[in-house]
């Protein structure tokens, strides 16, 4: 069982977290034309790299979403930061 550091609550068991999305993915502007291929890629294609990755997770007890950089091979957490910085 992994331990993840919630930026608001500190180090907690992975059971309290849910994966939300890969970070940096933007929803296409659906008021414009989007090809079926682009929409399908947006919905279904994830990079899922071996090694360093940036992902959005939610800590369920506090309901806060945050960005977690981790290494999917070594299973180490590299960095966490609140999501807010990215959206403001």
């Amino acid at each position: 069982m992994q331990k993840f550091p919630c930026p608001f609550c500190g180090l907690r068991d992975e059971r309290e977290f849910r994966f939300a999305a890969e970070a940096g993915k933007r929803r296409p502007d659906t008021t414009r034309d989007i090809s079926a291929r682009d929409w399908s890629d947006h919905l279904h294609v994830v990079r899922n790299p071996l090694g360093a990755t940036r992902e959005i997770w939610v800590h369920m007890p506090c309901q806060e979403y945050f960005v977690m950089a981790r290494d999917t091979a070594a299973m180490t957490v590299l960095d966490v930061e609140p999501l807010r910085k990215e959206t403001v």
Binding site: M1, K3, A20, W39, L43, V58, E64, T87
Partner: protein
């Protein structure tokens, strides 16, 4: 002669005699015995039958490396199958039965299977039962292969608890190395936990007379006392069975027979692995005979339980530690014959051993002890990601590079000399560099030679022989992972503890390669078998998935409610009545003629507030919400990004920047989570706030033509006249000086008001509504009647009348898809090739011919083609409508077939039915009652 109890040795309490039975016969043991040690002390050798050939099997070893002695044990009314006899403590009154044997292990009727062994080689089942279908044979084969049966009643009281702990240093293994490491670290001020799977500490140290110039027992006592004085904690009867991510070590602590063991999730900063080593079996002819045992296991039996494995013992153990072990057994009174394995070897005799033949020489004996060398126990090291390297002097895998937080010491590190092991353990414990491992130890395991003379066992538990590995090699299953699956080598509870290295060395010998070239299989937790209850813990029944309870439950019970689970809530299905059907029909008639009063508290009440709230809910909903005026309510869908209908419900606008989302009762958590995700990931969370107030606002629904008359008497401070308060509007009023929200929405097709009040007012409101209602013939209304009435109106229940492919236009809601300008969740997916397919299914009603019974739910609507009937839809809801006096059904049907008035054919479980397609709304299609 077989095994017996040697005088004055071991840790057992010879004054406490325990009686037990094995396969019906009475025996005696001592407190401190295991089932296996007690059986051996009584001279019992045959303890079970092998899995496939039903060969007689006895104990191979004294602890978790024994793959053979598996029992079903009954004690105090508990019966547990699959008990490993070598690790099960003997208790007074135990009824022990051999498994895989009938009527007993000594005389097993299925032993005839062994005569046919030539026809049952590796791959036999795969090759033989391919045609026509493996599943035809599987049940019989599984029954033949069973290892006991677990009664469900046994599981009820068998609960594991799960605890969490942390320490600076976890020491796995309470032998001399583990004890020395633990003490050294504790005296440096670290918090240290020492786990030992036996009741008593000591490990292989119990087999020597003196340690560091002290009497062994004195040394142990001093070390343990010093460790505890320094704050160290000992967990005995506890096995570390797995290492998981981020340095989590899982410990199983036994709590006695019939009681669920405890799971301890230990987070250790560092771990010293002092798990020792196991004997590697020698692979020779008939080496599975009862009485062929591990040399180290025999020494452990003597040191712990005072049991001598036999009297005339032949030893085949070509390694440098064997001399001391042989001396120990000789000292206890056995006649020892050392035999060098310098030729083809074969055990002589059947259930009773007569001798050992090596080359041309025969050695008479009643017991054969073997060890092809010591195998460091490195399972946890591998779980943690450590690598192995092959030490050719020791003929064993030893730790190579690995995680920096775990270090193996002592036997687990291949340091078999006790003095060296202690120095190593202390250095590692306090963080010093480990001294270079000394390689005084040597082993010279004999080559495995394929022979037709007799079968040579590699895996005792799964009946895998050298011949089977030869077949696998011949058929090119040479990768060890393939070898394992093809022959079942290393499966079941042994998990390769004894069989892995013999299997690899056999494959290596057969292919003329080295063991490291042959490779090794992956080591996976659990190291020892653990019951599934360990992982479940207390997460069962209500503790796994607690029902949500209404604050008015006691009032419902008093009113004679039949409570059931609906979407995770315990809710009234109906009230009173001789039969559920009667009650439901009566409640429907009551609502259609007067009114019903329903507890609708679980309905979602999620508030969305803030300056960006309008734009936010407009994006979340399929329908346009931006145009909704304060005080008004709109029905709508939420979709997934794939365009699939996720939830339906109403949204009310309280004022410019405040909305209340009333989603389905069972979707409140899901919708809240979805709103939070969009709020924080894609919006400015400082301009939107989402707050689930469902539990703060119990809701009482009054529905029926008399609803308005009832509400007038409740003094809500709101003008209820139809012109002032129309359908799909919301008002804020008061009930008994507390705030009340009154929403005019309907799920029954009648005039309905949902009144939400604070929890403190809920009971007063419920009682008042019923009291006033009684004057009009109204009464309490359950959920079952509501679901019939909503079907009469053609309203969907998400998840019942929709499935994983339903899009909003399938349900007849196509305007936002075509007209909504703003972006919304799932918008693009509503215009894909799939979303615009001409044969998409449409939501329709079905009527049966006069006099026909109800249609079965999930019946398929079919068309007839050349290939026979093919499905073009299915029935999602079906009821007998008391309002209309005939059956009604809702269905999804290929829209090319879905013209109203079309007659369709249905198939269900061999029955053919007919029905006529109608609009989904059967009752009051113009909505005159709704808007009354």
């Amino acid at each position: 002669m077989t095994g017996f109890r040697a005088p004055a040795r071991g840790l057992i309490d010879r004054n406490r005699i325990l009686s037990f039975r094995f396969d019906g016969r009475a025996y005696y043991g001592c407190a401190g015995d295991t089932v296996v040690s007690a059986l051996l002390a009584n001279g019992v050798r045959v303890m079970g039958r092998s899995f496939k050939y039903h060969r007689p099997r006895g104990a191979w070893s004294s602890w978790f490396d024994d793959p053979n002695a598996v029992f079903a044990i009954r004690l105090n009314g508990h019966e547990l199958p699959n008990c490993p006899g070598a690790t099960t403590e003997l208790q007074d009154g135990m009824e022990v039965r051999s498994v895989n044997a009938f009527p007993s292990a000594r005389f097993d009727l299925k032993s005839a299977l062994d005569l046919g062994h030539r026809f049952l080689p590796a791959g036999f089942y795969y090759k033989t039962f391919m045609w026509p279908d493996w599943h035809l044979f599987e049940p019989t084969i599984r029954r033949m292969a069973g290892l006991g049966k677990l009664e469900m009643s046994e599981i009820d009281g068998y609960v594991s608890d799960q605890t969490h702990d942390a320490c600076d240093l976890l020491v796995v293994g309470g032998g001399p190395s583990g004890i020395a490491a633990a003490r050294a670290a504790a005296e440096r001020g670290m918090s240290v936990v020492l786990v030992e799977d036996h009741d008593a500490l000591g490990g292989s140290g119990l087999q020597v007379a003196r340690i560091e110039d002290r009497d062994m027992a004195v040394w142990m006592r001093e070390q343990i006392a010093a460790f505890q004085a320094a704050g160290g904690q000992i967990l005995s009867r506890t096995t570390a069975f797995g290492v998981y991510d981020h340095q989590l070590v899982a410990l199983i602590q036994q709590r006695g027979f019939g009681r669920g063991p405890r799971l301890i999730r230990m987070r250790a900063q560092r771990c010293v692995l002092a798990a020792g080593a196991l004997d590697r079996p020698v692979t020779f002819g008939n080496n599975d005979r009862p009485g062929v045992m591990s040399l180290a296991g025999a020494c452990d039996l003597l040191a712990r339980y005072g049991v001598l494995a036999g009297q005339r013992i032949a030893v085949m153990a070509p390694h440098s530690q064997a001399a001391a072990q042989i001396e120990m057994l000789r000292d206890a009174g056995a006649t020892m014959t050392e035999v060098a394995p310098d030729g083809p070897a074969r055990a002589l005799g059947g259930k009773r051993l007569r001798g050992l033949r090596v080359g041309d020489q025969t050695y008479g004996c009643d017991t054969i002890l073997t060890s092809a060398g010591m195998m460091p126990v490195l399972h946890l090291w591998r779980h943690a990601g450590g690598k192995l390297s092959w030490d050719s002097t020791a003929s064993a895998f030893v730790p190579a590079s690995g995680p920096d937080w775990m270090t193996a010491v002592g036997g687990a590190n291949g340091t078999f000399d006790l003095a060296d092991a202690l120095i190593e353990a202390r250095a590692v414990a306090v963080g010093d560099d480990r001294p270079k491992r000394l390689c005084a130890y040597q082993a010279h395991p004999p080559e495995v030679v394929l022979t037709d003379k007799s079968r040579q066992w590699v895996d005792f538990q799964n009946d895998v022989t050298v011949k089977d590995i030869e077949i696998a090699a011949r058929e090119n299953y040479v990768s060890v992972e393939h070898l394992k699956r093809y022959t079942t080598l290393g499966m079941a509870t042994d998990q390769g503890k004894t069989s892995n290295i013999p299997g690899l060395s056999t494959m290596a010998s057969l292919r003329g390669k080295s063991i490291p070239e042959t490779g090794t299989t992956t080591f996976r937790p659990p190291f020892v078998p653990v019951p599934l209850e360990l992982y479940r813990g207390a997460h069962r029944g209500q503790q796994f998935h607690p029902l949500k309870r209404l604050c008015l439950e006691h009032r419902h019970r008093a009113a004679g409610a039949a409570l059931g689970e609906y979407g995770g809530w315990l809710r009234p299905g109906w009230y009173g009545g001789d039969t559920p059907q009667d009650a439901i029909q009566r409640e429907i008639a009551m609502v259609r003629h007067s009114a019903g009063v329903m507890d609708a508290s679980p309905l979602g009440k999620i508030e969305v507030m803030g300056p960006d709230a309008e734009q936010f809910v407009n994006f979340i909903y399929y329908n346009t919400i931006a145009t909704l005026k304060p005080g008004f309510i709109r029905y709508g869908f939420m979709l997934t990004e794939g365009g699939i209908v996720y939830d339906d419900g109403v949204i009310a606008r309280i004022d410019q920047n405040r909305f209340v989302i009333s989603c389905s009762s069972s979707h409140v958590e899901g919708v809240s989570a979805m709103l939070e995700a969009w709020r924080q990931d894609g919006n400015d969370p400082d301009r939107i706030f989402v707050h689930d107030t469902t539990l703060n606002w119990p809701t009482i629904t009054v529905t029926g033509p008399k609803a308005r008359d009832i509400l007038r008497r409740l003094d809500l401070g709101v003008d209820l006249s139809p012109d002032a308060f129309g359908h799909m509007q919301m008002r804020e009023g008061r009930f008994q000086a507390a705030p009340a929200r009154i929403a005019r929405v309907s799920f029954t097709g009648e005039v309905s008001y949902e009144i939400s009040v604070p929890v403190a007012q809920a009971q007063a409101l419920w009682d008042a509504a019923l009291e006033v209602g009684a004057e009009h013939g109204a009464g309490p209304l359950g959920l079952e009647a509501v679901s019939v009435m909503r079907a009469e109106k053609g309203y969907v229940i998400i998840g019942k009348d929709t499935d994983g492919e339903t899009m909003p236009h399938d349900l007849g809601f196509s305007i936002p898809r075509l007209k909504k300008k703003a972006a919304f969740v799932g918008d693009r997916a509503l215009h894909t090739e799939n979303a615009t397919r001409p044969d998409r299914r449409r939501f329709v009603g079905l009527k049966v011919p006069d006099g026909d019974p109800m249609l079965p739910v999930s019946a398929h609507i079919v068309t007839r083609g050349q290939g026979g009937p093919s499905s073009c839809g299915y029935v999602s809801s079906s009821y007998l409508s008391p309002t209309l006096g005939h059956p009604i059904a809702l269905a999804h049907l290929d829209q090319t077939q879905a013209t109203e008035g079309t007659e369709v054919e249905l198939l269900h479980l061999g029955q053919t039915r007919r029905a006529i397609v109608t609009a989904p709304c059967f009752f009051d299609p113009k909505g005159e009652r709704l808007h009354a």
